[in-house]
Amino acid sequence: MNTVVAAVLQVAVLIAALALAVPFLGRYLAHIYTTEKHLRVEKVVYRVLRVDPDADQRWRSYALAVLGFSLVGILFLYLLARVQQWLPLSLGFDPFPSDGAWNTAVSFVTNTNWQWYSGEAAAGNLLQMAGLTVQNFVSAAVGMSVAAAFARGLARGRGNGRVGNFWADLVRTTLRVLLPISFVGALVLVGFGAIQNLRADLAMTTLDGGQQILTSGAIASQEVIKELGTNGGGPYNVNSAHPFENPTPFTNLLEIFLLLVIPFAMAWAFGLIVKDRRQGGAVLATMATLWLGAVGLLTWAEIAGPGTAPQLAGGAMEGKEARFGEAASALFASSTTGTSTGAVNAMHDSLTAPGGGIAMFNMMLGEVAPGGVGSGLYGMLMLAIVTVFLCGLMVGRTPEYLGKKIGQREIVLVALYILATPILVLVGAAVAVSFPAGPAGMLNSGAHGFSEALYAVTSAANNNGSAFGGLTAGTPFWNTLLGVLMLFGRFLPIVFVLGLAGRFATTQHLPAGAGTLPTHRPLFVVLLTGVALVVVGLTYVPALALGPIVESLS
């Protein structure tokens, strides 16, 4: 079969699988974020942990719970990485240095999962399991909880300012959604060859008498939640390119499915929570349009293979696996950067110049195509509010979204949200190239070297976690800088989102009038897509011009 036809059909299979799963999962998510009933096991958990799952929190209390939980997560992970030499199952590895432990702790708690270290040579089995895998679950659950709180803020018309209970959201997301899917998914991955054992790393004698170490670990159990929670931090340096993490083209498609399914399902759930399915449909359609556009462009770039090295080699196979080839690598790359996952099955540093540029642009969208679990939904809703605001300005009406008036206080919060990440990215990039320690980490020369730095700060501030891996980021300078970007890139937006949720929750619903912009029609999808692209375009084109654009034109 022709390569292009196979590539198109591969995407079609994925879309079909998503189309089957998203409505089902979306309905389930909407149920768990609105029901007042607890499972029996959850009641036991709440009682033992002495948290009150029925206290309907105001936004400030909800936000402080998010921040408090994340704070102890960072401290705990930092400690675990610093003392791993004394822990069981640590495979004899040294403790992380202080800057590295800071970076990793922030990285996994913020759902970024940027990795400065090489998993197989630095992180023992206990750190992987008890530290990193745990945060893969709970950081994802935090994002989904915040999105649920925002949706409830929009949905509620009682005007009492309550947005739900963080602990109940966190526990339900973990126990009812992430854990069961992960358990089944992990076993499927093992069935196809992902490893899952707790042996030591042992030597094998190869066919021509050499030595090769057989690495060990609980790989499949981490791999599945790493995709499902749009985390991306894998046990191995080369992430999902490693045959023990992603052994076959089928597991590859399954992993792409896992990293897309919750972000899309959250949009569906949103429609049900606000009791207007069409609203969720419009959000979902916008996400899907942006995602599909990126898939198409990136696949085209990699199959066409522009650039000196791909042309010379006869294909853009540098940094790609033979079992995946260009198409399945491009599909993974566009999906992992469009969600905030950041797992990779090919080395993004070796993507073609336009391909690498699209991956970067995808992250710069602010992780909304379809975005991280949770962060994708609230990011897209922020853009939706910008869209109704702009349209309101054009016709001279007070804008409203889902019956909630967008006044001055609301639009200020949205503006802060929209500006926070670009400021972090652009200031971060400026800092990175202004000190000798920044460029010192670059592997490639010229414009591509700048792309490595720009990609790193973009990935960190947007909580993606993928990298142009040539960058030697395991230095105190890069670890500290990227840690700061990840921290603020996660929690500033969350505070603004929850603040806005609180505002909405204090106001009553306005009835829709003749001047109300319908936010569920195809026209709105077009407007929203346009706003997403224009906001990013205006913000980032100068920076992109110095990196991937100049490289594409050279």
Binding site: V13, L49, V51, T174, V190, D201, L207, Q212, E321, H448
Partner: protein, 203 residues
């Protein structure tokens, strides 16, 4: 002040939740998956190992390798794998792609050299050398080569082992997997399984 007090109170609750999460998700979940996987899929869970005669094993000390891990091959009588950027080649302890960009002079130079080397080794022109033969994989552990690269090596391997070319070609066919379900991924040849088959046929 109230906020700081509230933050501390929530952090304390957060710590209790985190400890419970660590026990359940950090120990219970991976150990349970490990237990079930070791019973249901022991061969896969332990690395998909094969012995030198191609039979499956779970014991690394009797394995000649994993069908999922490429390995260094310096034997000119066998099929060569792709170039690898993992350590000195196929080093599982330092998995790595080259991470060189498409315009990077070092990569362009490496591709030119590999092209010339493969063409000379297989007695073909440089234009006939496929892309995967001259590019390093993402993991540095790629267990596969393209059918085109395998086909390119058939004549040399057949001659070195005193086998008819048709026989070696047949072995390549047997080690080739097409796209999964006709559309997923790419067609590929498992180098370790192919080399084991060649060695057995040569005996």
């Amino acid at each position: 002040m109230n906020d700081i007090y509230a933050l501390m109170r929530h952090s304390w609750a957060g710590l209790r939740v985190l400890i419970a999460a660590t026990l359940l998700l950090g120990l219970g979940y991976p150990l349970l998956v490990t237990g079930v996987a070791q019973v249901a899929f022991p061969w896969q869970a332990n690395g998909s190992l094969v012995t030198a005669d191609g039979s499956r094993t779970t014991d690394p000390s009797e394995a000649a390798g994993s069908v999922l891990l490429g390995q260094v091959s310096d034997d000119s009588a066998l099929f060569y794998p792709r170039p690898s950027a993992a350590g000195d080649g196929y080093d599982t302890m330092s998995t790595y792609g080259s991470n060189l960009g498409p315009e990077e002079p070092a990569l362009i130079k490496a591709i030119k050299e590999r092209k010339a080397e493969v063409a000379a080794r297989e007695g073909v022109t440089a234009d006939e050398v496929p892309a995967d033969a001259v590019t390093a994989s993402a993991s540095g552990l790629d267990p596969h080569i393209s059918p085109a690269y395998a086909s390119l090596q058939v004549a040399r391997v057949a001659e070195a082992n005193g086998l008819p070319e048709a026989k070696v070609r047949e072995l390549v066919e047997e080690s080739t997997e097409g796209r999964t379900a006709g559309v997923l991924g790419e067609a590929r040849v498992n180098v370790l399984l192919l080399n084991i088959a060649v060695k057995q046929a040569a005996h």
